[in-house]
Amino acid sequence: MATLSDPPAESFRLSQLIYDTRYRSLTIQVIVFILIMLGLWELVSNAIQNLSALGKDFDFSFLGNRAGYDINQRLIEYSNDSTHGRAAVVGILNTLLVAFLGCVTATILGVIAGVLRLSNNWIVGRLMTVYVEGFRNIPLLLWIIVIFAIMTEGMPQPRDFRGDEPEASMILGDSVAVTNRGVYIPNLVFTRSLGGNEMSEAADGVEAAIVPSVSGADWTLILVVLALGIAASIFIGRWGAAKQERTGVRPPGLFWMRAGAIVIPVAIVLIVLGATLDYPELTGFNFSGGVHLRNALIALWFALSLYTGAFIAEIVRAGILSVSKGQTEASAALGMRPSWTMNLVILPQALRVIIPPLISQYLNLTKNSSLALAVGYMDVRSTLGGITINQTGRELEGMLLLGGFYLITSLVISAVMNVYNNSVKLQER
């Protein structure tokens, strides 16, 4: 009868840390971790030591000091008496504005160009190829400067609009002025603004009248109503789809109900607020009134949209090509029109391939907006990361804040887009 004895208890020897594969990976990781920590500590203490050698401290209180400089494009109240912190916020809003405008336009351009590049029409297909390859292969900075130069050098000066026989004239029924300082378009103003209206001064034979104005509250209200309208529209769409599945009959007039849910409440709000248009007018040196889209914004917006649009076009093309040709043939066999095939069969399937790389493009566009510096667009890189740092000498603090801002923005964009991605990706059961 064989006796079973316990295997001898293995004693742990120090050399096992190196020679025993069970422990070796752990050993390496611990050593590397210590080295990285030492490296980081060295970098931080080096920075502290160098700062003190230069006689500088590490302090964010400069954000509360008076900025002293002016910013031309500001979405919130700002003057040179405001603080550096507020200047940074103005810059952040400007960055977000151009990033948002750019992402929307780039997506529209990209989807159209991507679809058209696959067109059977030789001219259309080649034109899109020229667009995509032209923009993809030339640096973005050049495009920004080219568009800015065209706007600055090619457009008439405001003073050309003056006189009885002006050299230049406004377009679209005297409502839009294209000048080398930017484009002036009519502004939406309200006679019953939530921010309160002022009365014009009464003169002989002229009664005092309400001066239309606009405030942030007005736009907040409109955007809230618009958002509710869109939510209602989506709800109606779901209800319609559910009913169609249940009964097989699509409710009639569904499209009009959805459109009405968005348009009617907004129209009511606009009427209640007494909306009118404020046209740009030439006074003194410049046009006044209306909305001034500065050249810097236009150049940056267009260049970012066209450049990123070219990349998105390639992503869309790849997405469409990833859908099997059999899908097209099957939908043709069902008698669907080509446009239905694209919208109802191909694009929904292609979206699964398109969305993930599209997120990267949105991130690229947002970060590329920091090239605003080249044309003097006052984004956060120019205010916080430029003038503020220069006037206060707080390079390290400013750059840390700037880095933090771009990091957070990028993470938020990618989080939001990932939520969307999860809703369109292949549902596996």
Binding site: G68, Y69, R181, M378
Partner: protein
């Protein structure tokens, strides 16, 4: 496993880089310059008369002369200068990060730059003030008529702050067009993208001189600020700071004492004036006190001439820029130039 090795290498490299960076600050700027054999001097990206490369690619100008004088004093070679073009925004970072040894770039001496940014101004080589330039056809004769104008302005400068103060204190509004360099401002201004260009009056004169038709543009009479422009170095390296300060003073004193680039060779031995003899190193130990040779100032003056020669040759009334001496005359002629005694 592969990844661990990579990370380990990275950590080691990071540590090494940290040590290397720490070393750069430990030895003095003067020793570094002597060892390197060249002076790294920050200048503007191009302002005719002050600092701009000529047709042969040689840097020329009023600010450039200061760099060359310092290089001649330290290295006995006015061409041993590495010129580093800087913009209004990059200049201070370039200096505090030791990318350049000194900055000679029409930079205004202000309290916060001297104290908070931890720099040391070596003196004033040009007393200036901020002015405005407008096209003549606009019919503007005073800066107080500029309400609502579009103004081109270099960002990150004192002029940007003065402009904001001036317009708000006079209850006027304006539309700033921020730009990075003087060349860009010139192009924007000429294209009519801004009604007004504002910067230091000397800069306006220098810019206007390069226009096709300078007479079509007027400089408005208002000077809205004091802009003492001068070379600067980092805080904490007083040895090098002294050299730059006293090189500048030597150029100013040379004009007052009648030392020129033509006579600097023999006047030190022939003159009876003890101050000239001390300045040029034929008497006393001034050079040794700076850690330089006895003829350091003579070399600087021989290289670029005295202050008056530098002024007349680059921006004076005989040049296209045509600036009068004005405040920049010697104190004996009613100006502000005043070099402390060499003794």
């Amino acid at each position: 496993m592969k990844k661990s090795v990579f990370l380990g290498t990275l950590a080691v490299a990071g540590t090494a880089a940290g040590f290397a960076a720490a070393d750069a600050h430990s030895s003095g700027t003067l020793a570094q310059i002597q060892e390197r054999g060249t002076l790294n001097c920050g200048v503007s990206t191009g302002l005719t008369g002050f600092s701009a490369p000529d047709a042969n690619g040689e840097w020329q100008g009023f600010d450039v002369a200061v760099c060359r004088a310092v290089a001649a004093a330290i290295l006995d070679d006015p061409s041993a200068v590495e010129f580093v073009p800087t913009t209004g925004q990059t200049r201070f970072t370039a200096l505090s990060s030791s990318e350049i040894d000194m900055l000679a770039r029409n930079t205004t001496w202000t309290f916060s730059r001297d104290v908070d940014l931890a720099f040391e101004f070596a003196g004033v080589n040009y007393y200036d003030g901020q002015g405005f330039m407008v096209p003549r056809e606009l019919g503007v004769s005073s800066a107080l008529e500029l309400d609502g104008a579009t103004v081109c302005i270099q960002t990150g400068t004192t002029t940007e702050l003065n402009l904001a103060d001036y317009f708000s204190s006079n209850n006027m509004s304006y539309e700033p067009v921020p730009i990075e360099t003087n060349a860009e401002a010139q192009q924007q201004y000429l294209a009519g993208a801004c009604d007004v260009y504002t910067t230091d009056a000397s800069g306006l004169a220098a810019t206007r001189a390069t226009f096709e038709d300078p007479s079509a543009h007027v400089l408005l009479p208002e000077i809205i600020s004091k802009e003492p422009l001068g070379p600067l170095v980092r805080h904490g390296d007083n040895e090098f700071g002294d050299i730059v300060r006293w090189t500048l003073n030597a150029l100013v004193a040379a004009e007052e004492l009648g030392v020129t680039s033509a006579n600097v060779g023999e006047i030190g031995n022939t003159t009876e004036n003890p101050e000239i003899r001390r300045l040029l190193g034929t008497e006393g130990e001034l050079g040794a006190m700076l850690g330089l040779d006895a003829d350091w100032a003579a070399r600087a003056i021989a290289a670029v001439g005295n202050y008056g020669e530098v002024f007349d040759g680059n921006i004076g009334e005989s040049t296209p820029i045509g600036l009068a001496r004005g405040l920049n005359a010697q104190w004996t002629d009613g100006g502000l130039l005043y070099a402390p005694p060499f003794r």
